[in-house]
Assembly symmetry: C2
Homo-oligomer: 291 residues x 2
């Protein structure tokens, strides 16, 4: 399922719910307004009542809406991972009430893992504590760090092992190269950062230049910031469209990029060509560790 | 300067550079293509040459373009901060070659600071190591964590103190409430998460519902994901438009939100009204610690 199919499906499934919810929304706002000079205590009590009613309204929105869940979400990190690849989806997954996130280091310890940009993040669990059949297995990308992680056969075997029973196997950016190294892309549509898309066929993948690419239980996102679009699609898949819409509004995800340079289709040729050239040495090194 | 003014200025300043760069781009691609059967060594050598030439091409793009710099960027964290508020701009700031990022905890120690979503991030410096006149002072937002941080008078005093000589004083999301608490918003245009925009006037601020709001050296971003738009505007201000365009392409920031619910103007009333109601108790608590 590609982005357009996903969006279409999401809109169709959301249509009926909207009709239903129009009425429910009225129910929750049927309280008498407070007088302007209401006391702080009265305001707080009213705020609590409003919050409870809103909670109930969301709970009644329909079959595919799940306010509470117990998803197990495994997010892997390794030295040099791109922190934004991780934190975009992490924010969205963490907004799923009841879901549990396992942040697990390639080093199989609880020491801080330094991102490619210098942010040090602490794992939450050891590999031995990792669920065998998580709802989501997620791998972020990076540059030199990803190259080194591709050479770490113990880590690659761990990815392969945990992917076997995962409901969804996922990545953002060059994280798909790690999935490829683990043999998880054979014959499947996948995406990656635009710079590394050309490497996917070596892993038997069918490269697709889309923001988020669905192929069965394999869901891969494009470069870095695609993690936010990816994460919202995953929330919709696990909790229903309306839950994802609420989280998108909570994250105020109404992006306004200051320039039109976010894609190779729209970036100025000078910027695109020279940036691609700056990545050329990394591509050659990545090619060396690809099949 | 608001978003539209910024974009207009950025486009104007970029126009001349584009003309210049059309020629320079050709110069860097004037190498003879390698034969298809070139050896891995030859490919690697060529990749290195291409990268060097691209680096030089970028360096020659014009007066406002700075490939290398020595900016001092202070990013403050506190228990319960929203990790994505921080990591969006952090990724972009870290992409400015030569810039140094100081990640500093409200607790004035180097212990991990847990975000509202459970991510534990390590500070890099103590408050005593913080530059007195940084290029950027940045404060992320959060929910209950921000409420607690507003009550931490030592932390608020530290923000006020370091803001005095900062080139830019900045925030994302509810981080602007911390700036307000430090007395930095008086008589100035500012923004915040859509839920907390109504609280800004209590701090003497003029609330503006924009993605990124510029008022002199005060730059505030909207909720959570606005940090990416904010960060790119800051990179453009410090390194020039073309640098920011390259970083936008590196981050593949060509967003495709799956739903139209990222703004209160476009979200379904049911989602908007009930989400706002769920935040009502927090708003009342924040009101208690506002002037």
């Amino acid at each position: 399922m590609d982005r357009r199919q996903f969006t279409k499906l999401a809109f169709l499934s959301g249509g009926l719910l909207s009709l239903l919810n129009g009425c429910r929304s009225l129910a929750s706002s049927a309280m008498e307004p407070l007088p302007a000079n209401a006391s702080p205590e009265a305001r707080k009590q009213r705020a609590g009542e409003l919050s409870d009613k809103a909670h109930q309204a969301f709970m009644q929105t329909g079959d595919d809406f799940k306010m509470h869940g117990n998803e197990q979400i495994v997010m892997l990190i390794y030295p040099g991972f791109a922190a934004l690849d991780l934190v975009g989806p992490h924010y969205l997954f963490a907004s799923m009430m009841g879901a549990k996130i396992y942040l697990i280091s390639s080093a199989n310890d609880l020491k801080p893992v330094k991102s490619g940009e210098g942010l040090e993040i602490l794992p939450t669990h050891l590999q031995s504590q990792c669920p065998v059949a998580p709802d989501i297995l997620f791998v972020p990308g990076g540059t030199d760090g990803t190259l080194q992680a591709m050479k770490n056969t113990v880590f690659i075997d761990f990815i392969k092992n945990r992917a076997a029973a995962s409901k969804y196997v996922t990545s953002v950016c060059t994280g798909s190269l790690l999935l490829g190294k683990a043999g998880l892309l054979k014959g499947r549509k996948a995406t990656s950062h635009w710079v590394t898309l050309e490497l996917l066929p070596a892993f038997g993948a069918i490269p697709v230049k889309e923001r988020v690419v669905w192929d069965g239980n394999l869901v891969t996102g494009g470069g870095v910031t695609a993690g936010i679009d990816f994460g919202l699609q995953m929330v919709a898949a696990l909790r229903g469209r309306q839950y994802a819409e609420a989280i998108q509004l909570q994250a105020e995800y109404d992006p306004m990029p200051p320039f039109a340079s976010g894609s190779i289709e729209t970036a100025e040729p000078f910027v695109k060509d020279n940036l691609a050239a700056m990545f050329a040495p990394l591509i050659e090194k990545l090619r060396d560790v690809s099949p």
